[in-house]
Symmetry: C2
Subunit: 251 residues, 2 copies
Amino acid sequence: MTNYVYDLMKKHHSVRKFKDKPLSNDEVKKLVEAGQSASTSSYLQTYSIIGVNDPRVKKDLKEVSGQPYVVDNGYLFVFVMDYYRHSLIDEDKKSDMDVSISSTEGLLVGSIDVALVAQNMAVAAEDMGYGMVYLGSLRNDVHRVKEILNLPEHAFPLFGMAVGEPADDEDGAPKPRLPFEHIFHENLYNSNEQEQRKALEDYDKTVSDYYHKRTNGERNETWSNQIARALGSKQRLDMLDELKKSGFLKH
Amino acid sequence: MTNYVYDLMKKHHSVRKFKDKPLSNDEVKKLVEAGQSASTSSYLQTYSIIGVNDPRVKKDLKEVSGQPYVVDNGYLFVFVMDYYRHSLIDEDKKSDMDVSISSTEGLLVGSIDVALVAQNMAVAAEDMGYGMVYLGSLRNDVHRVKEILNLPEHAFPLFGMAVGEPADDEDGAPKPRLPFEHIFHENLYNSNEQEQRKALEDYDKTVSDYYHKRTNGERNETWSNQIARALGSKQRLDMLDELKKSGFLKH
């Protein structure tokens, strides 16, 4: 492996503050092409990408997300799981696709395909010297996002991505990941509770040290506490309804 | 963007025939570390990776998949959506996480997190000079895969990835993707049926020409026909049940 790609990936951190300098059309096209080169399950290509540069559309999406970098960035992408074109083929070929498209398998295939495209684009954007951040916050109000972007049935907005040149005072850094030994299992999953708890305890210390150093001792926070807060908060419980309304996840 | 990364991505094609030459432990670790550097939603890191090198485990997984390259490869990874460690934290913190973990949002976050890690690893593997292929076919029998890998509740096998040096007679090539103009929309989704159908017609010709050339005229196949066959075949309709059994997708 080249040091170049390894280092590029290892230094990734989400950038949430960008210079006011738009990407060129050529850059946008190259990013999307790099994204499309990713593997796709059974050649299905279950995605569309909305490139957003209209300030009014950005403003509307910011109201959903709540994040300032939905408006202030170099470029904004919205990633759509998309079986609309497949459904048009179905009309012609009468192949009874709806069972597959509306199945849980259809959702898994569709959302994983989208994520593979997006992650190629994330790496490609950072390779261009840009920073990026994913926007799960567009799922705060999927109904409204569908409306803003004029999505037809069988098209569902999964997340966004803001890209751009990091602002001069942007000072993000890679956050420590769960240790290799904890997330990697050889041949069999090791669900030994004691070992897992010990690993989490050690990692809590790593994360807490990280925040301590980054904030000159102001932030005291373990990973476990963040996770308890994030998953305890019961967000976006309308996702099943919204997927069903778009023709997904019926069985 | 460097030509290096753009070209690396653009020349991707799935490799399904590998030399009998295992990856080193150091290479496996570097790949996983590169994967872990990808973004993770709310820092949740909802994944585990099973590295499979035991021939018996490979053989068992091959029986599920049906594909010879599950056994014959340089290394085999299985990607697991994993909230098991979060559920251990929940036991300690009493943060009532189960609503989130078992929600549709929890599934979206979890599966997308896994896919981001995997795609970094795919790019990193190709950067090392290896070929790779995703294995959705492990979902042919998720119940059995859970058993083979000894997965606990809140852990679900999404897909595998075989990596290795391409065999000397491996002759894959990138398959043409849907045209940029068709999958990319500026600000608003263009669902105009006539334009979409025209784009699909043109793309059918591109794909059919591609197969024609690759097989010296033997294979006649459009994209639409492949899609109709793939989505008409109603595969893996047990996914909702299997997710529920693992504690997912209850609401």
